[in-house]
C-alpha cells in the first residue's frame, strides 16, 4: 500500500522579533489512503503547523526550512502555485476550529459549498447543490433540503461545523485536515459532530489528519496517534497500543491528568448557615427571562460545581450573585444576611467577601498594569496597606500561588503564560481575603496539565483558607476532580442537585444522564458502544430537543 502523504524530516521556523525560531524540529509522518491519524499535544506543540504543512501551506511569518512533503507522489514544497491551487480544495481539504469565523457571514451555506466544486470543474452548480443536500443528509443535519439556504448565523455551532465538513467533502478529497473541529462545542453537541465526521470519513474512505488536544476525542477518531511536544515528536503508535501502553513519560503524564480527584468531604451538618444562599432567584435580560427560580446553598469550605451547556444560565447566576445583574425576584443571602441586589448598593465589606476568577485571564488582567499593581490594588483598596507593607503582602500572595515574587512583581501580563496569568487572577481574588470565590470556567482555556495545576492550587487554598467556591464549568472531568456538590442547569432552571457521589451514580434526571454519557472516555470503543446503545437519534442536540 503506497502512502498518500509522506512527510520526511520536516523543519519549520517562525519569525518573531527579527529572528527565526524553530516550531517543528524534524518531524516525519506517513499517512495511508483511508487512514485517520490523530495529532495531539498542548498549545504551542506545533500540531496545527504540522497539519497545515501536510497541505504544503504555511501561515504568514512561517517557513519550511528543510525536509519534504509528498502528497501522492507530488512534492508540495516545490510545486508551483498553480499546481497547488489545483490540489487544494479538490484533493486536500481543511476543516477549521471555528466554523463561525470561517464561513463568510454574507453568503448562504450552499453558495459557499458549491464554490469549490464549480471552481475546480468537478460538478456544475446544480449538481453540486444536489450533492450538498445529500452530504447534509449523511451528516444528519436537520432539514437537509433547506438548511443550505440559510445564512451562517441562522444555524447552531454544531450544525455549522458539520456544514463545513460537508463543504470539505464537496470535491471528495483524498485528504482532510481537521483542526480541533469540536473544541469550541458543548459536550452534547460535540458527540453528534464526532459521530457524523467519523461516519462520513469511513463512507468515502477519506484519509484524515485529526488535530486536537483532547485525548478522549482522538481515541474515538484516529487509527493511529502521534504525540507532539514543543515541535518534537514524542511517540507514535496504533491508537489501542498507545492508550494501553504509552512508552514515554510525557505521554503517561498526559494520560494521568484525568486521574486527579479530591476525596469526598463529610456531609455538612444540618442547620449550619450557608456562606452563600441563592433563594428562588429569577432574572431577565430585558424582556427575555433567563433564570427561573434558581435555588442552592454553598457552605463554608465547600465547592459547588454548576454544570450545564452554554446558554444554560450558569454565568447569569454568577452575575446575579455578584450584583451585576439584579434579579427580578428572589434573594441572595451571605452568611445569613440578605445582600443588596445591585453591586452599587453593597458596602465595601460585602464586595470584598465575594470575589471572582474569570475564564479568560487575557481579558481579566489589565494589559497595561504590572503584576505588582494588579494584586496590590485590592490590598490597598480593602486593607489600606501602602508602601512597603503593601509590597510585602503582594509578595506573600505571589508565594501563595507558587510564583517567585522577585521575578514576577514588575512584569506585565503579556509576559506571562496562560497558566501563570490565571494564577495572578487567583492572587487578585485572594488579596481581598474573601470567604467566597466564583470560578467561572477557570480551566477551560488552559492545557490539561496546566489546568490540573490550577485545580490542585485551588483545592489547597480551600483547605488552607476555608474558602467556599462556586465552580462554573461545562467539563465533567473538572467536576469530578474538585466538586463537593453539583448543580445541573438547563435553560435557566436547576434540573438536579446534590452531593457529587450521588450525581455520578444512576438514577439521574434524563438531562444529567445525557450530559454524563456525552463526555468522551478514553476507551476507543466508547463512541461505537454509545451509538449502539442509544441510537443516532438519541444523542446530542436531537436528544436535548426531545426533552423540552
Amino acid at each position: 500500500m503506497s502512502a498518500l502523504v509522506e512527510i520526511r524530516d520536516l523543519w519549520i521556523e517562525g519569525r518573531s522579533d527579527e529572528t527565526w525560531s524553530p516550531i517543528i524540529n524534524g518531524a516525519s509522518l506517513t499517512l495511508n489512503k483511508g487512514e485517520v491519524l490523530g495529532l495531539i499535544g498542548e498549545s504551542g506543540a506545533g500540531k496545527s503547523t504540522l497539519g497545515l504543512a501536510a497541505m504544503g501551506f504555511t501561515r504568514d511569518g512561517v517557513r519550511i526550512s528543510k525536509g519534504s512533503v509528498m502528497f501522492d507522489g507530488i512534492d508540495l514544497i516545490t510545486a508551483s502555485a498553480a499546481k497547488k491551487r489545483d490540489l487544494l480544495g479538490k484533493r486536500i481539504a481543511y476543516v477549521a476550529q471555528s466554523a463561525a469565523a470561517s464561513f463568510n457571514p454574507a453568503h448562504k451555506l450552499i453558495d459557499q459549498h458549491t464554490e469549490g466544486p464549480v471552481q475546480h470543474g468537478v460538478m456544475s452548480r446544480s449538481e453540486s447543490v444536489q450533492d450538498g443536500i445529500e452530504l447534509y443528509r449523511r451528516l444528519r443535519l436537520p432539514n437537509p433540503e433547506e438548511i443550505g439556504f440559510r445564512y451562517p448565523h441562522q444555524v447552531s455551532g454544531g450544525q455549522l461545523q458539520r456544514a463545513m465538513t460537508a463543504m470539505a467533502m464537496s470535491c471528495r478529497p483524498d485528504l482532510i485536515i481537521f483542526d480541533e473541529p469540536t473544541t469550541a462545542l458543548d459536550v452534547t453537541t460535540q458527540i453528534e459532530v464526532l459521530a457524523s465526521i467519523r461516519d462520513i470519513v469511513e463512507q468515502f474512505d477519506t484519509a484524515a489528519i485529526y488535530i486536537t488536544h483532547d485525548l478522549a476525542v482522538v481515541a474515538q477518531m484516529a487509527d493511529r496517534i502521534k504525540v507532539l511536544l514543543k515541535g518534537d515528536e514524542v511517540e507514535e503508535a496504533d491508537t489501542r497500543t498507545m492508550l494501553a501502553q504509552p512508552k514515554e513519560e510525557y505521554t503517561k503524564s498526559l494520560w494521568a491528568v484525568r486521574a486527579f480527584e479530591r476525596p469526598q468531604k463529610p456531609a455538612v451538618h444540618t442547620g449550619a448557615t450557608p456562606v452563600v444562599s441563592v433563594q428562588n432567584v429569577s432574572a431577565a435580560y430585558g424582556k427575555i427571562q433567563v433564570l427561573h427560580d434558581v435555588s442552592f446553598d454553598i457552605h463554608e469550605g465547600r465547592t459547588v460545581a454548576v454544570v450545564g451547556e452554554s446558554g444554560s444560565g450558569k454565568s447569569t447566576t454568577a452575575r446575579c450573585i455578584t450584583g451585576l445583574l439584579p434579579p427580578t425576584s428572589g434573594l441572595i443571602e451571605f452568611d445569613g444576611q440578605p445582600l443588596p441586589a445591585n453591586y452599587k448598593s453593597r458596602n465595601k465589606d460585602q464586595l470584598r467577601q465575594a470575589q471572582m476568577i474569570y475564564q479568560m485571564a487575557d481579558t481579566a488582567l489589565n494589559p497595561r498594569t504590572t503584576i505588582g499593581n494588579i494584586i496590590g490594588r485590592p490590598v490597598q483598596f480593602y486593607m489600606g496597606l501602602t508602601g512597603k507593607q503593601r509590597r510585602r503582602r503582594v509578595e506573600e500572595l505571589l508565594e501563595e500561588i507558587e510564583l517567585p515574587a522577585a521575578q514576577y512583581y514588575d512584569r506585565l501580563p503579556s509576559e506571562l503564560s496562560g497558566g501563570q496569568k490565571q494564577r495572578i487572577g487567583i492572587a487578585r481574588a485572594l488579596a481581598a481575603e474573601p470567604k467566597f470565590i466564583i470560578c467561572d470556567e477557570v480551566t477551560s482555556a488552559l492545557d490539561q496539565l496546566v489546568a490540573e495545576g490550577i485545580l490542585k492550587l485551588l483545592a489547597r487554598l480551600q483547605d488552607d483558607l476555608k474558602l467556599s467556591y462556586m465552580f462554573i464549568t461545562h467539563d465533567l472531568a473538572t467536576v469530578k476532580a474538585i466538586a463537593d456538590e453539583v448543580v445541573v442547569m438547563k435553560e435557566g432552571k436547576v434540573v438536579e442537585q446534590g452531593p457529587k457521589h450521588d450525581m455520578f451514580v444512576p438514577p439521574h434526571h434524563p438531562y444529567t444522564d445525557l450530559l454524563l454519557s456525552s463526555v468522551p472516555e478514553m476507551d476507543p470503543d466508547w463512541l461505537t458502544n454509545l451509538l449502539n446503545e442509544r441510537g443516532v437519534d438519541n444523542i446530542g442536540d436531537a436528544a436535548v430537543d426531545k426533552m423540552s
Binding site: 455578584t322 451585576l324 453591586y343 465595601k348 464586595l351 471572582m356 474569570y358 481579558t363 481579566a364 489589565n366
Partner: protein, 400 residues
C-alpha cells in the same frame, strides 16, 4: 487625441515588456519559483516602475533653459523636488543612524525598529518644535520689520535679483521671508498644538465618560455631537468666527482666543467619537468588571483602567487631528479670519503671495514665494502623518 493614443501605445509597450520579462526570467532562471508563480500584474508593475524610473532620470538631466533663453520651468521644479527628496532621505537616514548609537537602551531599540519614513517624520517634528520654541533667537529679523527693498527673490544671489541680507527674499511689502517663516512656526504650530490639546481634553474626557456611564448621558452627548458633526466644519467655523469677530471688536488678540475655542470644540466631536468607541471596547473587558465589583470609583476606572489601554489609538489620532487643526487654522487665516496680521502665519503668507504662482512658467524663483509657506505646511503635515502611521502600525490596534 494624439496624447491619448501615445498613452495607449506606452501602456501596450509596458504590457508587452512585462510578458517578455516574465518569459525571459522563467527561461533564464530555469523556472525558479519567483518567476514561475509571478502573476502578470506583478510583471507589468516591475516594467512600469522601471520605465518610470528611467524617464525620471532622463527628465532630471534635461537642460534648465531652452535655447531661446526661457527657463524650462517643469525641469526646474522637478529638480528641486528630487534634490529635496534626496536630501530628506539622507537626513532621515543620518538621524536614524544617530539615534541608534546615542541615547538610552530603550530609545536605541526604538530607532532600530524605525522605518526611514518614521525617522524622517520624527526629525521634521523635532525641527519644527525647535524652530517654534527658539524663533526669537533663530530669526535674523523681526516678523513685523519692514525693509525698503520689496519683492527680493530667494537665493541671495544679486545676479538673479536676490540680496544676501534676505536669503529667502522678502514679500511684497518688504518683510524678510525667512524670519516670517520662522515666526510662523511659532504662531501657527503653537496655536494648533494648544487647540488640539484642548480638543482632546474636551472630547477625550466626555467620550470616556459616555462609554463608562452609558445610558442617558451617553445618548445626550452622542446626539449633541451628531448635530455638531452634521454641519460642514469649515463653514461652521467661518460662521462662528464671523460672530466672534463682532464680539471681539477692536481687541484683536481676543479673536485668536475665540478661534482656539471654536476649532477645539468642533474638532473635539471627532475625538469624542473615537474615545467613546475605544472606551466601549475596553469597558466590556473582565478587568473593568473586576474593578467595578471591587467598588472602584469613576475616576479610577477612567484614568487607571481605561486610559492606559486607549493611549495608542488616541496618540495616533492626536497626530492626525493636529494636522487637521493646523490646516483649518491655515485655511481660516487664508480666508482672512484666522491669525490676525501683522503676526506671521503661513496661511496668511500663502494668501498674500498667491498671485506670484502665475509667474511659474517665466521665473521659477518668483513662484517660490508662495510655495515656501505652502511647503512649510505640507512638510509638517507629511512628517506628522509618517509618525502617526508608524505609531498605528506599532499599536496594531487601529490599522488604516
Amino acid at each position: 487625441m494624439s496624447t491619448l493614443l501615445t498613452l495607449a501605445l506606452i501602456l501596450v509597450a509596458v504590457a508587452a515588456g512585462g510578458w517578455v520579462l516574465r518569459f525571459a526570467g522563467q527561461k533564464a532562471s530555469g523556472n525558479a519559483p519567483t518567476f514561475r508563480d509571478m502573476p502578470f500584474a506583478v510583471a507589468f508593475g516591475y516594467v512600469f516602475g522601471a520605465s518610470l524610473l528611467i524617464f525620471s532620470i532622463w527628465y532630471f538631466f534635461q537642460p534648465t533653459q531652452t535655447d531661446a533663453g526661457v527657463p524650462n520651468a517643469g525641469v526646474v521644479f522637478f529638480r528641486w523636488a528630487v534634490q529635496f527628496f534626496i536630501v530628506s532621505a539622507i537626513a532621515a537616514f543620518l538621524f536614524r543612524a544617530l539615534g541608534r548609537t546615542v541615547g538610552t537602551k530603550g530609545s536605541r531599540k526604538l530607532f532600530r525598529q524605525m522605518p526611514l519614513t518614521a525617522s524622517f517624520g520624527v526629525l521634521v517634528v523635532i525641527l519644527y518644535a525647535f524652530t517654534a520654541v527658539f524663533a526669537a533667537w533663530l530669526a535674523p529679523h523681526g516678523q513685523e520689520e519692514i525693509f525698503t527693498k520689496v519683492n527680493v527673490l530667494p537665493g541671495g544671489n544679486a545676479a538673479t535679483g536676490g540680496d544676501p541680507l534676505h536669503p529667502l527674499g522678502t514679500d511684497q511689502i518688504g518683510r524678510d521671508l525667512l524670519s516670517r517663516l520662522i515666526y510662523g512656526a511659532q504662531n501657527t504650530v503653537g496655536i494648533a498644538f494648544v487647540t488640539t490639546c484642548l480638543a482632546f481634553f474636551l472630547g477625550g474626557s466626555l467620550g470616556f465618560l459616555a462609554a463608562t456611564l452609558q445610558g442617558w448621558l451617553d445618548q445626550i452627548l452622542s446626539r449633541a455631537v451628531d448635530v455638531l458633526m452634521a454641519i460642514p466644519s469649515l463653514i461652521f467655523a467661518l460662521l462662528l468666527m464671523t460672530i466672534a469677530s463682532a464680539w471681539a471688536g477692536s481687541e484683536r488678540w481676543l479673536l485668536t482666543v475665540y478661534m482656539i475655542i471654536i476649532i477645539a470644540v468642533i474638532d473635539s466631536t471627532r475625538v469624542f467619537r473615537l474615545a467613546r468607541a475605544v472606551g466601549l471596547n475596553i469597558v466590556v473587558m473582565d478587568y473593568i468588571e473586576a474593578a467595578k465589583l471591587r467598588g472602584e470609583g469613576l475616576g479610577y476606572l477612567i484614568f487607571k483602567e481605561i486610559l492606559p489601554n486607549a493611549t495608542a489609538p488616541l496618540l495616533a489620532e492626536f497626530g492626525l487631528r493636529f494636522c487637521f487643526v493646523f490646516l483649518t487654522i491655515a485655511s481660516l487665516s487664508f480666508l482672512g479670519v484666522g491669525i490676525q496680521p501683522p503676526l506671521a502665519d503661513w496661511g496668511t503668507m500663502v494668501r498674500d503671495s498667491a498671485q506670484f504662482i502665475n509667474f511659474a512658467a517665466f521665473s521659477p524663483l518668483t513662484a517660490a514665494l508662495p510655495l515656501l509657506a505652502a511647503g512649510a505646511i505640507a512638510l509638517l503635515t507629511v512628517g506628522v502623518n509618517f509618525v502617526v502611521d508608524w505609531m498605528l502600525h506599532r499599536s496594531s490596534g487601529l490599522k488604516e
